[in-house]
């Protein structure tokens, strides 16, 4: 145990500036989100008779609700900016912690020392990565919890544990993205051996990897999505696609259906008709638009899966970094 503490102390000393700056940024972000959360919860608690999300009944809100609603949504829009951009923290922290793990040692010549004092570069790198993962998780876990709390305060009518509201912008996926970016940072840093170029290239690779992971997760979700129609009460499901089911039962994507030159008149419930008259009479529908969704109750499972895929991709990149490190020159 004392060995682990000594290693953590020495690792911290090597990266203290970026950790302290990131830590400060995270604390400020958590503080701001906590303040917004408490304000939102305060308004909701003070006006239990007001339901701010029933748009059609706004005019019928009890006295005092208008003002409360204004205050609530004023805060809501600021909080949304935070929440929508919160994903940047995950990638930012991972990349800034990950890039120097190998690149700094190479750039400053200390790799020669570390790689000859230790008998295994892989062990050295694993210890470095373990510290990086620890820092990333510690910095981002609080942020992840806070985004969940803020999201819950913004959607007081929803159980966010069973809802895809703010999906991808809250919760443990932020930590998982940090681990992915850490893996990218370590690998690119090990390949280039220079911190600034590695950071810049890391940004590009992070964008590409994010796209790739999102694509894989999306395809996976798509294969498990269920068909639903617009007028169904869906709660807050995950929307993964849409299409048209023809009267014959055949499925077409929107692009295929409308790309064929089809024109259709849509009724309120999403049914499609060849003419306006048919639509009005609700007669001879040629198809119906549908959406593919994953129901909100599957949120914990889908998020856990997405997080695991993301962390898994990060772990693969770390294995790649170990392979590069074991073969490359120390300068």
């Amino acid at each position: 145990m004392s060995g682990a503490l000594t290693w953590a102390r020495l690792s911290f000393a090597q990266q203290r500036w970026e950790i302290l700056i990131l830590g400060l940024g995270v604390v400020v972000a958590i503080g701001l989100m906590a303040w917004m959360t408490s304000q939102l919860l305060g308004i909701t608690a003070a006006y239990p008779e007001c339901d701010f999300f029933l748009d059609e009944d706004q005019f019928a809100l009890p006295a005092g609700c208008d003002q409360a609603s204004q205050a609530f949504f004023g805060l809501y829009s600021n909080a949304e900016i935070f929440l929508r951009n919160g994903w940047l923290f995950g990638f930012g922290v991972g990349l800034i912690v990950g890039v120097p793990l190998v690149a700094r040692d190479i750039e400053q010549g200390t790799a020669q020392l570390a790689w000859t004092l230790g008998r295994s570069r892989t062990r050295w790198l694993l210890l470095r990565i373990a510290f990086g993962v620890l820092v990333t998780v510690v910095l981002l876990a609080g942020l992840a919890v806070m985004t969940d709390l803020l999201g819950a305060a913004m959607q007081p009518n929803d159980d966010l544990g069973r809802s895809f509201h703010f999906e991808g912008n809250r919760g443990m996926i932020i930590v998982a993205r940090g681990i992915l970016a850490l893996g990218i940072g370590v690998l690119v840093g090990a390949m280039l051996g220079r911190q600034l170029p590695a950071l810049l290239l890391g940004l590009v690779v992070t964008g590409l990897m994010y796209g790739a992971v999102t694509f894989v997760v999306h395809r996976w979700n798509e294969s498990e999505a269920v068909e639903a129609f617009y007028d169904q009460n869906l709660g807050a499901p995950l929307f993964v696609g849409s299409g048209v089911r023809l009267a014959s039962g055949e499925r077409r994507s929107m692009a295929e259906f409308y790309g064929d030159g089809n024109e259709a008149f849509q009724s309120d419930d999403g049914q499609l008709f060849a003419t306006a008259a048919d639509a009005e009479a609700q007669r001879d529908p040629i198809g119906q638009e549908y959406i593919l969704v994953i129901p909100g109750e599957r949120y914990p499972e889908i998020m856990a899966r997405g997080s695991l895929v993301t962390v898994g991709a990060g772990a693969l990149l770390m294995v790649g970094a170990a392979m590069v490190t074991s073969r490359r020159r120390p300068t």
Partner: protein, 280 residues
Amino acid sequence: MSAPADPVLEARGLAKRYRRGVWALAGIDLALPAGGITALVGPNAAGKSTLIKSWVGFEKPTRGSVRVAGIDPWKDRSAALAKLGYVPQSPSLYDGLSVDDHLDLARQLRPSFDRDYARDRLAQLDIPADRGGRNLSGGQQAQVALALALGTRAPILLLDEPLASLDPLARREFLHVLTDAVRSDGATALLSSHIVTDVEQACDRLIVLGVGRVLLHDTVSGALDAHAISTAERPDAVGSFGAPDGSRIYLVRGSADRSATLDEVVLGYLASGRSKAVAA
């Protein structure tokens, strides 16, 4: 020089070409016996660092092989490194770590690292243990790097031009610590340098490297005994070079006008290496 029965450092047909197509080493055959300090002397770009880094496992041979105590560092790096202590060319210490932290780090990376031994050596030199690595003088940084290598208690020490940036006093202190440690521990050290006076003081053997080849490998005393200086041109001269007074002097094997200094032996071989390179 005849090959020792059990060499601790060995290179066979070692050649190294860099990506630019430059050959840093062009077929090195070397076998160093256990014990003592061997100087590896040569001009810049002679391949000294590349040779040392091949033994450390930092440079993969393009052709040939290297062995550390019989172990190929590219096949079993861990076992080879267990036999080695290494002092790099510029003793790069961690910016945010104190001297003591470096010793802790060494202990973390190599559990057999003798922290007390290394600390005692630094204490003898009055190097403050709590000072940051980068806040030490060049000489002190070199001493810390040497203490880290000595603390491994490895039987073989490879020192890649650690004296290059040190002032004469710091060089003297460094060599004193090195010779003391090698003599008391019975280790084998290979010290690359281009400062011949240092070599003469501290080293038992001498390797002169030029244009990627071994030009001379002998004991220091053997090299001095075997060579002499002629002021007249000699067809059998190993090499010739200009004297400070403008005259030309010739290094020969055997007897001549006067005995050669180690500096002259090295210069003669370096001159021969250069003329071979020009001829090639």
